[in-house]
Symmetry: C2
DNA sequence: ATAATCAATAAGTATGAATTATCAAATAGA
DNA sequence: TCTATTTGATAATTCATACTTATTGATTAT
């Protein structure tokens, strides 16, 4: 009496609606004809409407049945799609990865990741957001982000980090500056210049590293300006308001009147790491990390 | 092992996905917690994907589960809509009636039906087609039409007829004709005129009736022209090519230089009947016929 | 007439969705 | 640290019901 419609009913209904013949429909479904009859009847009771007209020797659909047929076709179809997609998402073949990154990661790591995804897992999509180290960490902790690209060595408990790209540092000088790569020996050649650096709390690790580079050469830099954007830093250098030390990859992608001197000999490296929540189960994230191993 | 997803699974899944708590979800569903657990587990097996992460003390959705949740919400919603609509169609509250009619039915019967439908069953829609008696009968037999308005007394086996409107006949005379309503006594006053009638095979019953009217007055009409359109007949009368005898309702709806003399005293009536297939199960048709009873 | 074919009905079976009872793991409170 | 409480998962059992086979009644075909 108080039954509930099930997908079984729909499948049975569709078979009868297609065959318009109970025995044939039952054969197709590999069940017995009486079983099919009772199930259809039950379905009609649940819906409170006749779906088939069983007239002398012929079965036909009522208008309500005709309508239901279309709907059932749609629903079963949609369901099939859904099942496939759920499986794909579960296998990490399909899904969304929410990625945060520092601007400097956009020079090579993030584009390479996106190209790799497009090639190997074209159905894995991404949302991208340029964020500071801190903002990324917070977003990952709050489950608003799956993957971050940061310049940090230590991260809060519950997160994992892994270096994905090591970069040298470069001196950034205004185009007309007397020093050039040929005559560059050591950073203390510019020890008396004003320095323009990324803000300490935008990227503490970078800041510390730059300070340690100078320290290694025996001086404390005079930091005249700080900024969170490479664009701004370069603009200030261009206007001779100081010189900068930045990860070398930032050489590309900007049209500025500045010159880069890559400091290969100094031991410090600008390390870009990926960060993710240890217990993140997004399978598409696994695919991303697999790809990043190979980059 | 070889189970099949059922709607039950979806309903259970949604409860857990909403509560993120098996016991609470089970309570909401009025089933036991172990039953719910096994059903969800079975569902995961069928789909081949984990849907929930049961971590220490907390339940959460996997990305696949997150995706499925949205889909299940959509599907269950859609299904609910469908169930309601099927019921409405079955009750004839919602649906379509395909109506055929003779031009003369458009004077009052069909418009009144449409107004009645609009008022009482605004969700019952119609398709309308002006057709001859014969064309309507054929269309109804071939299930291309639900309801016809004809002037026939006998219809093929399998169809039912029922009079819906009785009309007197009127003489149609050119405006300048010497006879008028005041001086009209009997049709044999125009026995010597030429007659313009609807074609015999457009409406045999009409034709026979008109002949019997003349016969009762003791003459055989001289039929000079026949047509299937009232418009044409009136135009011919207007041009003094003859006079006509037509159902009185045709008086309205035409702008012609002709005058009508209603012959109330003659016993013959122009009967408009509705026709339908005896075994037509369109519930919206029933609503139409109910309305037509009351007109 | 007889046989054949249809869906519906009746009665019995067996699958599996439910239940209750219990467990193992984790947390919270003392 | 121990206990009490809470979580979801398991195990064993019960019970609902979707199935089966056997049959009927109605209709059509030969």
């Amino acid at each position: 009496m108080n039954y509930q419609i099930e997908l079984r009913h729909f499948i049975y209904f569709l078979a009868v609606a297609e065959e318009l013949h109970y025995r044939k429909a039952a054969e197709k479904l590999f069940i017995s004809q009486p079983g099919l009859s009772t199930q259809i009847k039950q379905m009609e009771e649940i819906l409170g409407t006749q779906l088939f007209v069983r007239d002398k020797k012929k079965v036909s659909l009522t208008p309500a049945g005709e309508f239901l047929k279309k709907e059932v076709e749609f629903i079963l179809n949609h369901l099939d799609q859904t099942k496939k997609q759920v499986k794909l998402i579960g296998d990490g073949q399909l899904g969304e990865v929410r990625i945060g990154f520092l601007g400097s990661a956009m020079q090579n790591v993030v584009p390479n990741l996106l190209l790799g995804l497009k090639e190997k897992y074209p159905t894995v999509h991404t949302t991208l957001e340029e964020l500071s180290n801190r903002a990324q960490i917070n977003a990952i902790l709050a489950d608003r982000l799956d993957l971050g690209f940061v310049r940090l060595s230590r991260v809060p408990k519950g997160l994992d980090v892994k270096p994905v790209f090591e970069d040298t540092f470069s001196l950034v000088l205004p185009e007309g500056h007397p020093l050039d790569a040929k005559h560059f020996k050591n950073i203390n050649q510019v020890a008396n210049e004003d320095f323009i650096l990324f803000s300490q709390d935008y990227s503490p690790m970078y800041y510390d590293t730059v300070l340690s580079i100078c320290e290694d050469s025996g001086f404390v830099p005079n930091v005249s300006h700080k900024s969170v954007h490479a664009q701004t830093i370069f603009k200030l250098v261009e206007n001779k308001l100081g010189i900068a030390i930045v990860p070398t990859t930032l050489q590309h992608g900007f049209q500025m009147k500045v010159k880069f001197i890559e400091m290969k000999k100094i031991k410090q490296r600008a390390v870009l790491s990926m960060v993710w929540k240890t217990d993140n189960r997004n399978p598409a994230l696994q695919k991303c990390m697999d790809l990043l191993q190979k980059l």
